[in-house]
């Protein structure tokens, strides 16, 4: 369910989908194309009318919205305009996981595997000429950036990368990428975006997109270091790590699974997305390797979600008896996310790390594990974008993403718009990042060691 990078971000809601929807129409529409657009609008309206889990559609005057927008669709002169109107229609629901994905998005995502810089820039701003070009292939900077109190802070530096070698440390503030001001972008987004649980996520992703360049690209970064000095660093992007996974119609995407020991005592697992059946086997291997550890940390920070069943599958290795992560609510059904107890089993304490960029399936997992009392959650509140969704191809070629159910966690809480609130809220600050490197990981590690020593 997580699409390849660009598309997966779009999944997070209509607001983000809107940002992908501004590809200008270069050609006048034929009557036939226009007819397909009108038909697509009708399908979008009807599908939501028929499938939205609440038959009252949350009190939205759906027929009124149709009567108001349909004439505008019929009068629209471009596909982009129709797309905007379809997004306007679905935004009235005020829910995540609804959006129109331009047909070109899928192509852009496929291009991303060859040249992410072109995709990142064109989809965000339509300014293709600004992107510095690398030698090709998807690349990453090795820096994790989160906007905290309006400042874009480095929260993690991937070891053994040019970024790490350049001396950049957690807690440093990123102010410029080339000549582009990070602060201005953040300020604009903070002002322009409506308040919602996914606002921080969108801003973080937007800043991250400034660093998404093809492998081998040299990024000129301006930062404020730990001594409050403005410094410049040149960072060469590295090939994006992870295994390419393909699922059905969805574009191929790169999924990274990391498993290692922290100081030999604690098992640590991080996964970039819930995508690819191979994750199950990797997790089983990790559990076997961690048999003698004092506990396990599952890091879902920045994980935008994926296949819900994988989260339930992971949880099966962590419980003694069958239970459930939560329940989907549709008009006529209440299927669970079942946890089927399975081998090998990890029985030690478990900490799950989350942040505002943890969404969807990551929220199912964290919320469910919290509710059944099997894990302690650390970090900041998740995105609150937790609706099971589907994507349907419309007659005009666009993709229509729509949620088909509400989701209620095992404890009975809706996550949509609220997110998972950690048991231990740890908000990284510039000071704690400079001091501890990763204050969230540090807090979780302390807790696991405390559990061990208290026995």
């Amino acid at each position: 369910m997580v699409l390849a990078s660009a598309l997966s971000r779009a999944r997070l809601g209509a607001a983000l989908a809107l940002s992908l929807a501004f590809a200008p129409s270069l050609f006048a529409q034929s009557d036939q194309e226009h007819a397909l657009d009108v038909q697509s609008f009708d399908i979008v309206w009807q599908r939501i009318h028929d499938t939205y889990w609440d038959p009252e559609l949350g009190g939205v005057d759906w027929q009124g919205a149709y009567d108001e927008l349909k004439p505008k669709v019929e009068a629209a002169e471009s596909r982009a305009e129709v797309r905007r109107l379809m997004n306007e229609l679905i935004s009235r629901l005020g829910k995540s996981h609804f959006g129109i994905l331009p047909a070109s998005t899928a192509e852009l995502v496929q291009e991303a595997s060859k040249n992410p810089s072109e995709v990142a820039v064109s989809k965000k701003d339509g300014e293709e000429s600004e992107a510095p070009k690398g030698s090709g292939g998807p690349g990453i900077s090795g820096l994790t950036i989160r906007v905290i109190d309006g400042a874009a802070l480095v929260t993690a530096v991937r070891p053994d990368t040019p970024a790490a070698a350049s001396g950049i440390r957690p807690g440093w503030q990123l102010t410029k990428v080339g000549e582009a001001s990070v602060g201005e972008r953040v300020e604009r987004l903070l002002e322009d975006l409506p308040e919602s649980s996914i606002k921080a996520l969108i801003i973080n992703r937007s800043v991250a997109a400034m660093l998404d360049r093809s492998a081998g690209t040299e990024l000129e970064l301006t930062l404020i270091d730990g001594d409050q000095e403005a410094v410049m660093r040149t960072v060469r992007t590295i090939p994006a790590p992870g295994q390419v996974e393909k699922f059905g119609n969805l574009p191929a995407m790169r999924v990274e699974f990391v498993a290692r020991r922290l100081d030999s005592e604690i098992g640590y697992v991080r996964l970039s997305d819930w995508f690819g059946l191979s994750l199950i086997g990797k997790f089983m291997t990790a559990i076997n390797d961690f048999e003698d550890t004092k506990g396990m940390i599952i890091d879902l920070r920045g994980n935008p979600g994926g296949i819900g069943g994988l989260a339930a599958g992971f949880a099966g290795f962590l419980v003694e008896e069958p239970t459930s992560l939560g329940t989907m609510i549709t008009r006529d059904s209440r299927p669970n996310f079942p946890i089927l107890s399975r081998e090998p089993k990890f029985r030690g304490p478990i900490a799950v790390l989350v942040d505002g960029n943890s969404a969807s399936t990551s929220e199912f997992f964290a919320g469910g594990m919290k509710d059944i009392g099997r894990a302690r959650i650390f970090g900041t509140t998740t995105a609150g974008a937790a609706l099971p969704s589907m994507i349907e191809k419309l007659p005009n070629g666009d993709g229509f993403q729509y949620a088909i159910a509400n989701y209620v966690s095992a404890g009975g809480d809706e996550l949509e718009g609220i997110g998972v609130i950690p048991d231990e809220v740890v908000v990284p600050t510039r000071e704690t990042l400079l001091e501890e490197g990763d204050p969230v990981l540090a807090a979780a590690s302390r807790w696991i060691l405390e559990q061990s020593s208290s026995k």
Binding site: G309, P388, M390
Partner: protein, 276 residues
């Protein structure tokens, strides 16, 4: 073949995958009460059996039936293959292999029913869900409805796929599940739709609609060659490609996978008082 997709639907629902939702395209007109002169359920079922080739054709299958089908989870782009081994009197094993999803094994024999997938793990069915699966696995169940259900009665009329149909409600025995509603067309008396409500302590509750289309002759029997099953926004389509009758099925094809066998052994030990 009809039961194989229940487990697949649980899986599909749990995947939360992008797909085209066609579940809302229910074209059943609001049902009306059965008229006083409606035929009895017994008569409708007898005509249905006749339409499928008659009792003799059902009984001509001496040992087993192996059905090969293609599978797709609509518009999600997920496709795969399904094989069902159905052996007298009540062994049913379904193996679905799906691209990027691995294998899904569903089965029932010796009073146990299970499903097992690489993604979710394995489970034994319990309670009413178990009873429903065991009932579904009975060979020639079409001929034995009076043993398998408490009551079978005509409860209305409805239109399915533009066909006028009799609505027949099958009510299981107490504690063996929810009523199942079947729609038989009035012209040919073939089963066109089944609607049921499945409840499972582990999996939750799900309304399942199954449309049986494109009836074709396989061997001496008329059977649906396309089955469309929808629930919770997920749609699974099966297209039957080949049906073999009375073939040699290796015994290893008819046993549960190791993870399921462990659960069965554990349950047996528990039931006999030896387990935890």
């Amino acid at each position: 073949m009809r039961r194989m997709k229940l487990a697949l639907l649980w899986l599909a629902a749990g995947l939360l995958l992008p797909t085209t939702a066609t579940w809302a395209q229910v074209d059943t007109k609001p049902k009306t009460e059965a008229p006083a002169d409606a035929p009895s359920a017994e008569k409708i079922l007898a005509k249905s059996i006749e339409a499928q080739g008659g009792e003799k054709a059902f009984k001509s299958v001496k040992k087993n039936r192996v059905t090969h089908a293609s599978l797709s989870i609509t518009a999600m782009g997920i496709s795969g293959e399904v094989v069902e081994y159905h052996q007298r009197p009540d062994i049913s094993i379904v193996l679905a292999t799906m691209e990027n999803l691995g294998e899904q094994h569903t089965g029932s024999r010796d009073g146990f029913a299970w499903d097992s997938s690489a993604m979710l793990g394995a489970r034994l069915l319990e309670g009413a869900e178990l009873k429903a699966q065991l009932r579904s696995a009975v060979f020639d169940k079409e001929l034995r409805y009076d043993e398998l259900y408490e009551t079978v009665e005509v409860t209305g009329e409805a239109t399915v796929d533009e066909m006028e149909c009799w609505e027949v409600t099958f009510t299981p025995k107490k504690g063996e599940g929810e009523p199942e509603v079947h729609y038989f067309d009035k012209e040919k008396y073939l089963l066109r739709r089944m609607v049921s409500n499945i409840k499972s302590p582990t999996m939750g509750q799900m309304r399942v609609q199954m449309d049986l289309k494109d009836w074709k002759k396989f061997g001496q029997l008329l059977m649906p060659s396309k089955i469309v099953q929808t629930a919770s926004g997920a749609e699974v389509v099966l297209k039957v490609e080949k049906v073999e009758f009375d073939v040699e099925i290796p015994e290893e094809k008819l046993v549960p996978p190791a993870a399921v066998q462990k659960l069965i052994d554990k349950k047996k030990a528990k039931d006999s008082g030896d387990g935890q």
